[in-house]
Amino acid sequence: MRDHGSLVLFTLSVQTAVGGVWCLQFASFGGVHIWERPDFRYQLGLILFLSIVGLGGAFLHLGNPLNSYHVFKNLKQSWLSREIALVGAFGGMVIIMIGVTQTQGGLLHDGILLLGSLTGGMAVVAMTRVYRLRTVPSWNHAGTPLAFLGSTLLLGGLLCTVPLHLQTWPTLTNPGVLAHDNYLKVIWFACAIAGLACKFLVAGIHSRTSADSQTSPVHQPVYQAGGLAAWMIYILINGNPGWQSLLLILTACGLISGETIHRIQFYQSYRRVGL
């Protein structure tokens, strides 16, 4: 388990991308016409970029990527095979979403977004199942799906907030736009809080099941709490765009560092039964 850097990149990138689509879906459920928003295409672009980065990370992990056209041959049994298929399908759905942003859709748009959210959800489920090996008790517990769900919500919320901020920079003085965007910011912050709640539950499970990690367990909650605090201030203070950008950068640094440390700890906690 020494070469887990590429897997950290793969899992976090794909989970962030899926979380981004979920957050757009929640906003859509909340009555926001996201397809009409100018920042929507930026968000989808970032989601596609992260999906591609994730798949690139997965390729880096392989000893012989030239044979990877065989990976769909064991869909019947292997969760790894299903995971790769579903992540690929999710990437395809994002491309379709980007393609249809130019068209007048309405119901079609909402249907495609829902399908993308469901495909992403299934990809995250497959991703958690990959690590639920009966011979690896340090991973085979409820903490694994909770941790992945937490990362998906937490980083997804962040991913959606960044392009929103970039897009609304010039319009921050318009009270109507501000109110609407604050509504979105709160929805996505709520996603992140739900993600963090999952993480707290994971911490409880993790302490009961194992694991001596080489990275200090103190760092991760500190980074994440700092990131969330900065995010909350970012929402509450609608003032100087410069300060807001700084707060968003602090949020991103805190949350991404915390998640990366947590994921590294996850791979380091690998303990198999037997020899």
């Binding site: 000893g63 065989h70 049994q77 095979s81 020899l275």
Partner: protein
């Protein structure tokens, strides 16, 4: 001329295994394995203590025994189950082999196998594993590890026949619980053999058996 048994299996009498590791050397030599790639490994399990008695003398419960392990060609092979490409597959005789033309080197089989049977060959970027020296066996020989064993602790043959050589099989530390993968191999326990998941002993040579 002998042929491959209908259900081939390894047998190890841990009572007479001296831990000399000739089996490992023979396996590496026969299969021309890279440094650090070991299809067979010998685990030393040791423990016990010295207890003082009131009269100043001591009693002891010290034990040490060796378990030579390779792929057990399990009846429920988790490596086959998890492999995304079907490179890891099991034939009608229960032999688990790897088709390197399909392997992507993801190492997932290695993560999952509780015996560390699939080994990663970093030079090729592929997994490899014990195949009972099928070429030798087809021409009437025995696997290299069995042929080389100086104490005849290792044997190879028909699983049902080998089962008769041991009253119980496999239920011994440091081997994993056989319910996990249903290994098709027979381990005759050592007289000091510890129960599964025993905390009375420990693997004495972790550096030697760890993965490359």
């Amino acid at each position: 001329m002998k042929s491959m048994p209908k259900k081939p299996a390894f047998f190890l009498d841990t009572q007479i295994c001296t831990g000399c590791k000739t089996c490992i050397v023979a396996c590496i030599d026969k299969n021309d394995l890279d440094t650090g790639v070991r299809w067979r490994r010998v685990v030393e399990f040791t423990g016990g203590e010295w207890n003082p008695r009131p009269d100043g003398t001591y009693t002891q419960t010290v034990f040490s025994y060796y378990v030579s392990v390779s792929c057990n060609h399990c009846a429920e092979p988790i490596c086959v189950e998890v492999c995304p490409t079907t490179a890891m597959h099991q034939d009608g005789q229960g032999i688990v082999s790897i088709d390197q033309d399909k392997c992507i080197g993801c190492k997932y089989c290695h993560w999952a196998c509780p015996y560390s049977a699939p080994q990663y060959e970093s030079a090729k970027g592929l997994m490899s594993k014990c195949n009972f020296c099928a070429d030798e066996v087809k021409t009437g020989g025995t696997p290299a590890c069995v042929a080389a064993c100086p104490t005849r602790a290792l044997a190879f043959g028909e699983y049902d026949e080998l089962l008769k050589l041991s009253a119980r099989q496999h239920a011994m530390a440091p081997l994993p619980d056989e319910k996990l993968t249903a290994p098709v191999s027979v381990f005759k326990p050592h007289k000091m053999g510890q129960a599964l998941k025993s905390t009375a002993g420990q693997i004495a040579n972790p550096e030697e058996i760890k993965d490359a």
